[in-house]
Amino acid sequence: MEIINNIILVSYLVSSVLFILGIKNLSSPKTARKGNFYASLGMLLAIVATLFDQNVLTFEWIIIGLIVGSAIGTILALKVEMTGMPQMVGLLNGFGGGASTLVAIAEFYKILYNPNIPVTSMDAGTIILSILIGGVTFTGSLIAFGKLQGLVSGKVIKYPGQHPLNALLLISVIVLGVLFVFDPHNTSYILIVTAISLIIGVLIVLPIGGADMPVAISLLNSYSGLAAASTGFVLSNNELIIAGALVGASGIILTNIMCKGMNRSLMNVVLGGWESAGTVTTASTTSQKGSVKSIDSEELAVIFDNASSVIVVPGYGMAVAQAQHAIRDLTNILEKKGINVRFAIHPVAGRMPGHMNILLAEANIDYEKLYSLEDINDDFPNTDVVLIVGANDVVNPAARHDQSSPIYGMPILNVDYAKTVIINKRSMNAGYAGIDNELFFYPNALMYFGDAKDAVSKLVTEIKQL
């Protein structure tokens, strides 16, 4: 028995190392697939090792669980569209969190039915913590999923007493947690804490608006890691603690990058919306500075034909319209004409970190053509044509100079420095921040109205006919 236990422990160690190597290999697109394979190998090893644990004696429930879970997971993974990836990640986060809560509750019932098991205050405390983090992750992720899928309103939802209510709920969890530590065989504490945790998850994600989802998803990603780590504390299992800490750190870093990309504090995002988002109803037409110039596909084709360098700026609108394949066609035809085409990706473009990159990769666009904001921002003055597809706030020059603007200070792509800026939009509606974009009225800006996919396809046809 002793030998088997040691083999299990060594397996957990090897599995932890495989997780670390897996993430390490994600540092380059060349090795990333190998990295994902290492990590999955680590997971398989951990699962197999656990099956040899002396406490694992019946297998029928395990087999049912593994089969059902694998089937659902496989279907989800193979069916999901690349545009639906933010929802998918949100949903998976939720299942991870839900599993942590269930395991913690199961540990409680083991203690309840086995009065011989000694319970320390630390055991009780970690169970409560695990239920709290897991529960918040579970329902929070489900709400995020609903928002991204369009099942729950993506708007900033505010209601009176929102913050005092959340604070009150959190305080009650802490109080109940302390009571539970002194009375660890009391079922009602566990059930009430579970219920409150689930409610907190709903309440903290509900107010977050659609374009703030990159922050929310990253934060929930971090929580799912912390939930796994907290389960590790409940079970006294170092592998869970290591794996959970890695994921927790990953989520925190991404959350931080997303917040910087919007020049906002985490608090500001979590508390809900841009300061003006609730008050500005529709983009005011009175603040228009002159009129916008619009252009049709025929004239636009000539402009592209005469360019030698082009930068495409994709935004969430590209994902909604599924325009990435049309953009790939445009890229191919321009490159055939010897025109240099690159892509400028703002950190918060889309609904999750790296959302634009996977869509463009799906359309078979070389990842070496995708540039981050810092790497490409100085090149706009030397660029002939910038094509903006479904992005708005991230290219609004007001962020640089207008101190009264709610997005002032947010890092933006300096598209207005290019010779010509083409903005593809369906209408003149404002972006998420609910403010006018003065870029549209600049002398070098041309509006190209239409659905992104149709408009870009039409442009490709026109260029072919030249």
Partner: protein, 95 residues
């Protein structure tokens, strides 16, 4: 659980957080979505706890909770790794 083992676990947790920070700051923005889905799959390691509950010798509510937890965690693990692989396959360099 004893005090010493709790502190040992906190040591491991804190050090792993630092390892995570070092590794993840090196992941380029282009791979941030696969990083999220892949790390997500890793957080499904909770399955270890779920297996220990569902595989107990005696049958009671913990067995059922454990089985549901296995379903959740397996969706997380299998779905996460598969979808990450699907994405990473697309990151090709074209000539």
């Amino acid at each position: 659980m004893e005090h010493s083992s709790l502190f040992m676990m906190i040591y491991v947790f804190v050090l792993a957080i630092f390892v995570g920070f070092e590794l993840i700051t090196k992941v380029p923005p282009t791979l941030h979505t696969p990083l999220m889905s892949g790390s997500n799959a890793i957080s499904g390691i909770t399955i270890v706890g779920a297996l220990l509950s569902a595989g107990m010798e005696e049958f009671h509510i913990s067995t059922i909770l454990g089985m549901i937890a296995i379903i959740f965690a397996t969706i997380n693990v299998v779905g996460g790794f598969l979808v990450t692989d699907r994405m990473l396959k697309m990151f090709k360099k074209r000539k």
